[in-house]
Amino acid sequence: MLGTIANRQLLSPGSLRDALRMLDVEGPLVPMAGCTDLYVALNFGTLHGTKFLNLWGLDELRRIAVRDDVLSIGALCTYTGIIRSRIVQSRLPMLVAAAREVGGVQIQNRGTIGGNIANASPAGDTLPVLAAADAVVAVKSAAGERRIRLAEFYTGYRTSVLAANELIVGVEIPRIRGRQWFRKVGTRAAQSISKVVMAAVDGGRGPGGQRRAPRIAIGSVAPTVVRLPRTEAALASGASIDDAQGILLDEIAPIDDVRSTAEYRRRVAANLLANFWSGRRRG
């Protein structure tokens, strides 16, 4: 291991209220949940921060519930918890599909949805799902709470609107109408970080029979996860899939990196759009 823990301090709050107080008066603190990202950085000697906040014991952040037709998933829910939740299976199957492809079971048993959001990786597997689902991130601090649309949460590569004294406490997902779709393309089903990852909802039909606009989000092709509003609008107005693919290619900005090339990602992103759209119900 290249990193060292000798000069670091760990605070273990007994409750969420304790944790928020510590963030307020003892900060800056690095919140620590399942450690599936933080301890990789520790191993490589790239972990920043000297004071850490151990959230793992805060069971109040592990709840999954539906209130007023909104699905609420606590920040500490693990991928395994999501996969096994009947509520998530029935309301948000595309999140279950994404959770199944995160790491292997050891990572699924420890990694949390709050951590995936906070880590702010453009390749985060659950983020396109949350973006396509119009999810809202619930954030608390000692001063109060606020709710931020996932689409407005990220400000750039690995940066977000989260303040230093704020903690992600959960994510809220309104009821989704229509078919849900998820696809991750990587080197292997388990353990690989995505080359391209897409989630989409086709919207179904409204009460008058009119088709609702699809909602499409994509990861690993820009500094943050992105929604594709122009592609969505084109498909909603009856554009051909060829035209929609052209618009999608204008809306993404992939790069060459260790996992893939920009050209491959552009091709795969366009193919995924066609794959999603060809599976919708006709008529």
Binding site: I5, L10, N43, N54, Q106
Partner: protein, 148 residues
């Protein structure tokens, strides 16, 4: 820091951010748990925490306070999975073997081949090509039945 290790209460006076892997191998002296990649990719350091497989290289010791930790030493050398790995060529160089066996323990008795493949997807082996490992886990169910 207190937890239960292979059925015995232990108390360690080390930094709470110590990796569970290092705590097991050094102060506890249980070197059956191997370090492969150190980044949660290979599964060589798999142990069970409250019967759930985790990568010990990514777990701070503070997060197992009060928990039950099981390592390969806790299976005692006579577990049906250990016998099956020996008899069916599931182990070659041996580095992945403790982690493979503990991940397989968590699958319960008589898992299907599909369940085995999914359950061991986070454990990498560079020797066997996996077939012998899958066969060992499948055959362990038979050993377990004869063992009773």
């Amino acid at each position: 820091m207190q937890f239960t290790l292979n059925g015995k209460r232990v108390r360690l006076d080390v930094h709470p951010m110590t990796r569970l892997l290092d705590a097991l191998r050094e102060p506890c002296g249980l070197t059956g748990t191997k370090e492969g990649c150190g980044e949660g990719e290979c599964g060589a350091c798999t142990v069970l925490v409250d019967r759930i497989p985790v990568n010990a290289c990514l777990v701070p010791l503070a997060q197992v306070a009060g928990a039950r930790v099981t390592t390969i030493e806790g299976l005692g050398g006579r577990h049906p999975l250990q016998r099956a790995f020996v008899e069916h060529g599931g182990a070659q160089c041996g580095i992945c073997t403790p982690g493979m066996i503990l991940a397989a323990v968590a699958l319960g008795p008589r898992p299907s081949l599909k369940t085995i493949k999914m359950g061991l997807a986070g454990n990498i082996c560079r020797c066997t090509g996996y077939s012998a490992i899958y066969r060992s886990v499948e055959r362990a169910g038979v050993h377990a039945r004869n063992h009773r």
